[in-house]
Amino acid sequence: MRFALTEEQQMFQDAIQSSFENLNPQDWEASWQAAAQLGALDMFAQPMKSPDESLMDFAVFAQAAGRYLNDWPWLESALWVPTLVSITRGSDYAEWLTAWSTGKNLTTVAWEHQGSSDPFDGAKAAIDGSRISLHGLKHRVPHMSKAGSALITARAQGEAILLLLPLDDSEGITISDESPVGGPGTAAVHFDITTTSSVVLASGPEAETLFALSLRYATLMRCFEMLGGAREVLDRTVSHVTSRQQFKTAIGSFQAVKHQLASVSIAVENLAATAYFTLDAVIAGNSDVDTAIAATKVHANQTYLDACKTGIQLHGGFGYTWEAGLHRFLKHARMRAEQFGSTESRLREISRHLEDSV
């Protein structure tokens, strides 16, 4: 297992960071182009039928996206959906990839349903010959109003299905924006549509297995993104307490301040250790990775929120202002803690896994 970057990955990280530094993180098009120029899209477009070392590169990308709060659906568009499309569409994948590589296929994923741990809950589908109708409600869908297509999970007569729906026609789709002010874009989406059944990517046990597989990668990469965000808040706060003087001394020399930041540093380093250790287990194909991923997500939720809370506190009154910019990390941390399994739902999942393993 590796906890440090290779020289090549270090160069990639430096390149991403210097590219993202000057970008407006809300500008999707510029972010997409920057990623393309870095060669990131080529790298991530490889069909990922089994996990491999390229996930390490993606982890580097994810941390940079977290550090700069990149608000475009990089995870969905660059890893999650391509993984599923490459597996299910086989030879058609190249065609899809062409559209995708020009930035036309920025994708979102609609899978969560409030209060349910079943990723196929909330939406029901009925297939009738070449047509499919879809009804239901999905929560915490990122960037729904801007994405070009959406991967949707649903059940048809009790069976799981995966759909990749183009969003060029919004008829039958009601988007209720739930984005916090100054926070990342997210919505509750109500579907009431009928379209061609060619949008179905997979169904039955295959859909469940594939979705679980891709969700595994996506959750872990979300944790790396949260690690990037938490590290940025820690770095900014260390910089602030080193320069801010009170009582004729830097406030960072006071033990009450130092110890709070040491606690954040401990949590952040442990998140890095946990995320890399888990990634190694995923790449090695270990059998108990789902429990490990759930534990990593629980630790990521707590760490990112704690980093923000401490960061705001130690910035004093300035930390509570829009100008300090920490509000964006806090809202991001809150959103990420809810997405991909809240702390409570992940703890329930861990307990279920432990019960199964006895």
Partner: protein, 387 residues
């Protein structure tokens, strides 16, 4: 550092695990101990001989000195396997993990020949004489003096919190050999025979009711000058610098024990879980949080083992805080869970002992407060306290 599990490491782990699978139950049966029953100190001392006789002692020691010569990742596997089967914990830990490696690096040939093999075969026990009543976290302010008189040093002063001083044949002590220089300079590292006249050991009853640590008084205790390890007045550097990896492996071993306890918590929860759905959910949550704490500790242990030389101290500090505070949380939750649900006094008592012992864990080997100072100053670069 790359910690990839090599074929050699996996083979080592498999062989060691295979030996433990039969050796531990046989040892338990020979002492008529029930599964899950705590090992006593005499049990643990006997176990050390069993391990030595089977050729599994000294994981970090070079092969030429009778050790296993394991890489750091193999050492972690070694301690993970011991934890997995609840093997007795080592009593002579300071001998094998602190003094032994120090002698290997800084000892004279005579010192190595005299002491190393008796540490490994567990026929001589060691204690560490560092802390003093006025020198705890601020160790460098220690006051026990060693005055050179001919070819002997004469020791006067007092040590405290000396674990197993009452069992030990020898102490390795940090003492002041030059009172004219500043705190860190003027300290020497020396071996003291515990049977020397002028030494008095007084046990201290700890919070749990045990007597494992002691006060040790020196009243004109004469120590041969050849017992100094390394050069006189360079004890501070040796006490701190040469043992960084040993500390990491030591704490990692404890983290693996905590992970084993999380598994036992899980087993207990699954046997106990019944009644209302609210109580059921609460126990499940406790089980899952223990898993998370233990998993984070385990990852932190591997991360610390992979640390580059320049970050060993701060990453080691992170591991120590992570293990000790995580272990305390885990056991405190377990005590709360037991309050409502466990009718067996014996079961409650065995967890209560662990819970009580955990109060020491954020104090010894660097208090959490000192370690947070180290992390904030050396890792985050925050300014030192202004005077």
């Amino acid at each position: 550092m790359d910690l990839s599990l090599t074929v050699k490491a996996q083979e080592f782990r498999d062989r060691f695990a295979e030996w433990l699978r039969t050796a531990v139950p046989e040892f338990r049966a020979s002492l008529r101990r029930a599964e899950g029953e705590a090992w006593t100190t005499p049990d643990r001392m006997k176990w050390e001989r069993v391990v030595f006789d089977a050729g599994w002692s000294g994981p970090s020691w070079p092969v030429e000195y009778g050790g296993l010569g394991l890489t750091i990742v193999e050492q972690l596997l070694y301690y993970e396997e011991l934890a997995r089967v609840d093997a007795p914990e080592e009593v002579n830990r300071v001998g094998t993990r602190i003094l032994g490696p120090t002698l290997l690096e800084h000892g004279t040939t005579t010192q190595k020949q005299r002491y190393l093999h008796t540490i490994l075969n567990a026929t001589e026990y060691w204690c560490q004489g560092f802390s003093e009543p006025e020198a705890g976290s601020d160790l460098a302010s220690l006051r026990t003096t060693a005055r050179l008189d001919g070819d002997e040093y004469v020791l006067n002063g007092q040590k405290i919190w000396t674990t197993n001083a009452h069992l030990a044949n020898h102490m390795f002590a940090l003492v002041r050999t030059d009172t004219s220089v500043s705190n860190h300079a003027g300290l020497s590292y020396m071996i003291v025979d515990m049977r020397t006249s002028g030494i008095e050991v007084r046990p201290i009853t700890d919070l749990t009711g045990s007597q494992e640590f002691n006060e040790v008084y020196f009243d004109d205790v004469r120590v041969p000058a050849e017992n100094v390890i390394g050069s006189p007045n360079e004890g501070w550097k040796m006490a701190g610098e040469s043992l960084k990896h040993e500390r990491t492996v030591n704490i990692a071993g404890r983290a693996f024990r905590a992970q084993r306890q999380a598994e036992r918590i899980s087993q207990w929860v699954q046997q106990t879980r019944s009644g209302s759905s609210a109580a059921h959910a609460e126990l499940s949550r406790h089980e899952a949080l223990s898993y998370v704490d233990a998993y984070v500790m385990r990852c932190a242990a591997y991360r610390a083992a992979a640390a580059d030389p320049e970050e060993v101290i701060t990453i080691g500090a992170i591991l120590k805080v992570t293990w000790s505070e995580g272990h305390q949380r885990m056991l405190a939750r377990m005590m709360d869970a037991l309050d409502d649900t466990e009718p067996s006094y014996a079961k409650r008592a065995s967890w209560a002992t662990l819970w009580e012992e955990s109060f020491a864990e954020t104090i010894y080997a660097g208090t959490s407060e000192i370690l947070r100072n180290i992390i904030s100053e050396r890792r985050l670069g925050l300014p030192r306290r202004s005077s």
